[in-house]
C-alpha cells in the first residue's frame, strides 16, 4: 500500500542514510550574549573550520543528498566567508536556512537573500516587545531584529521565519508574536527552551510552568501552521498529538556539526557523551553519520525505563534527551517538564548532579544583561 505522509513512521526511528534536519553551527563568535544560548557562544574558537573545510562539508552533503542545512552559531554572519559559503551551498544544491540575530541583514543582504529560492532566514526574538526580548537577548537586540525583518519584507522576501524560544515571560505573548510575524508576511516558529549551554543557568527561572504548558499546547493545536521544529512533542502526552514528528530525532534524523567540526547527536547536547565524531577524521561526516557507535546505539529501540508504566509513553516517548541530561535526570527517566508531573520528583532527586555543557565560549566579563520580569 502506498502512503505519503509528513508524519513519522516507525522506520524513521531506525535512522536514515542521511539526516533530514542537519544543524551546522559555523562559529562560536557572537555579538550578542543571550542568557539561554545553547552553545554558550561569544568568542570565536581558533580551531573553527577553514573555508575550504566548510566547502568540503558541503561537497559531502551534496553527495549524501542532504536537501538543506540549518545554519546557525554563534552569529553565523560574523564569519567573513559566510556569504561565500551560502553561494557554495546553492551552487551545490544544498538549501540553506540560517538563523541570525539580524544585525547583518542590511538592505543589500536582504536583496541577496530574496534573489534565490534556496535560501531561507530565521530571525530570532524572544519577546514581542523590546523589554521582554532585551532582558534575554541584550539591550537593543529587539530593534535590530525588527529592522532586519523590515529589510527582508522590503526586499520582497515573504515567508521568512520569526523564531522564538518560549519562556515563562513570553508565553503569554503568543498572539502578539503571530501578529508580528504576519505583519512582515513571515512565519512564526516557536521552540522549546532547553537547559543546554548557558540555558542551564537560567532554565529554572525561564522554563514555562505546568499551567503555561497546557496553554501553549492548546495554542499550538489551534495554530497548526506554526512551525515548531517538532520541539514540543512532550506536550503530546496532554491528549491529541501535535502536528509533526513526535519523537526524539537525535542521531536518527537530526544531528549537529559544531564550529570545530565535531558532530553531536542534536543541537541541544554539546557534551562529550553525545559527541559522535569529527568531520575532520577519515571518512568525514558521512562516516560519522552512518557508522559512529553513538548514532548506531541511538537508532536501537529505546527502553521506556521509568516511564514504562505510564499510559502516555507512546505519545511523548519519554520526552527530550537533552532536557533530561542537563537537568541530571537519567536518560530513561521522565522529561523534566513531563506534563503529568513526573519530572518534578526526578528533578528533586537529580538536582545535585547536573553536568556542565562543554565547550563554553562565553566572553570574559559579566554578561551585560539580567533576567527581569516582564513589566506589567
Amino acid at each position: 500500500m502506498p502512503m505519503t505522509s509528513r508524519q513519522s513512521t516507525e522506520r524513521m526511528s531506525r535512522g536514515l542514510d542521511a539526516p533530514i534536519c542537519l544543524t551546522w553551527e559555523l562559529t562560536y563568535g557572537c555579538n550578542l550574549a543571550c542568557v539561554h544560548c545553547l552553545s554558550s557562544s561569544g568568542r570565536r574558537d581558533p580551531r573553527e573550520l577553514t573555508t575550504s573545510e566548510l566547502f568540503g562539508v558541503v561537497d559531502e552533503l551534496e553527495a549524501m543528498q542532504v536537501f538543506y542545512v540549518n545554519i546557525g552559531g554563534g552569529e553565523p554572519t560574523l564569519r567573513p566567508d559566510f556569504w561565500d559559503l551560502l553561494d557554495y551551498c546553492v551552487d551545490h544544491h544544498v538549501g540553506v536556512k540560517f538563523s541570525t540575530n539580524g544585525s547583518r541583514i542590511t538592505t543589500r543582504a536582504a536583496e541577496r537573500i530574496a534573489a534565490t529560492d534556496y535560501i531561507d532566514v530565521q530571525i530570532s526574538i524572544d519577546g514581542a516587545d523590546a523589554s521582554t526580548n532585551d532582558a534575554v537577548r541584550g539591550r537593543g537586540s529587539f530593534d535590530v531584529a525588527l529592522s532586519a525583518m523590515r529589510n527582508l519584507a522590503d526586499a520582497g522576501f515573504a515567508g521568512f521565519k520569526v523564531s522564538v524560544v518560549v519562556t515563562r515571560h513570553n508565553v503569554d505573548q503568543l498572539d502578539e508574536f503571530a501578529a508580528l510575524a504576519a505583519s512582515y508576511d513571515a512565519q512564526l516558529r516557536l521552540t522549546r527552551l532547553r537547559p543546554s549551554g548557558r540555558g542551564a543557568d537560567v532554565w529554572d527561572d525561564l522554563h514555562v510552568t505546568a499551567e503555561q504548558q497546557r496553554v501553549l499546547y492548546r495554542w499550538l493545536l489551534d495554530h497548526p501552521d506554526t512551525l515548531t521544529g517538532d520541539s514540543f512533542f512532550h506536550l503530546s502526552a496532554l491528549g491529541e498529538p501535535l502536528p509533526g514528528l513526535n519523537l526524539c530525532g537525535a542521531g536518527r534524523i537530526v544531528c549537529l556539526i559544531d564550529p570545530i567540526g565535531d558532530v553531536y547527536a542534536c543541537p541541544f547536547v554539546l557534551h562529550d557523551q553525545f559527541k559522535a565524531g569529527s568531520i575532520r577524521a577519515a571518512g568525514g561526516f558521512t562516516k560519522v553519520w552512518r557508522e559512529s557507535a553513538l548514532f548506531t546505539e541511538l537508532r536501537e529501540p529505546g527502553s521506556a525505563g521509568a516511564c514504562a508504566s505510564c499510559g502516555s509513553y507512546d505519545a511523548c516517548q519519554g520526552g527530550c534527551m537533552a532536557a533530561k541530561f542537563f537537568t541530571g535526570i537519567p536518560l530513561d527517566g521522565p522529561d523534566p517538564e513531563c506534563v503529568h508531573g513526573h519530572g518534578e520528583a526526578a528533578l528533586l532527586a537529580a538536582a545535585a548532579g547536573r553536568p556542565a555543557s562543554v565547550p563554553g565560549h562565553t566572553r570574559n566579563g559579566p554578561v551585560p544583561i539580567s533576567i527581569g520580569r516582564r513589566p506589567a
Binding site: 505519503t4 509528513r6 536537501f67 544544491h93
Partner: protein, 83 residues
C-alpha cells in the same frame, strides 16, 4: 487520467523505506513509504498517463486506485506537476 511529472524544484532521495521528497520552493518534505510508488514518481513523465506508469512499474492492477489517489495527493502538495 492526468499526466504527471516530478516537479522541477523537487529533490528525491532514496531511503530504505522508499524515498524522501523535498520541495526547494515551498520547503516541504514528503515521505514516500513504498518502493513502487517511488518508481512511478521517477518515471511517470515518460508515459502518456498514470496507468502507463503503473503498468510499467508492475503495480498490481487491483492496487491502481490507491496509487492514483496517492499520486493526486502528491500533485496537490507539488511533489508532482500536471503536464
Amino acid at each position: 487520467m492526468p499526466a504527471y511529472a516530478l516537479h522541477p524544484q523537487v529533490g528525491l532521495r532514496p531511503e530504505r523505506f522508499g524515498a524522501l521528497a523535498y520541495h526547494y520552493g515551498n520547503r516541504r518534505l514528503t515521505f514516500l513509504n513504498d518502493e513502487k510508488l517511488v518508481i512511478v514518481v521517477q518515471t511517470v513523465h515518460e508515459y502518456d498517463d498514470v496507468d502507463g506508469a503503473l503498468a510499467a512499474a508492475e503495480v498490481p492492477e487491483d492496487n491502481w486506485p490507491v496509487y492514483r489517489v496517492a499520486l493526486a495527493r502528491l500533485a496537490e502538495s507539488e511533489v508532482l506537476t500536471c503536464r
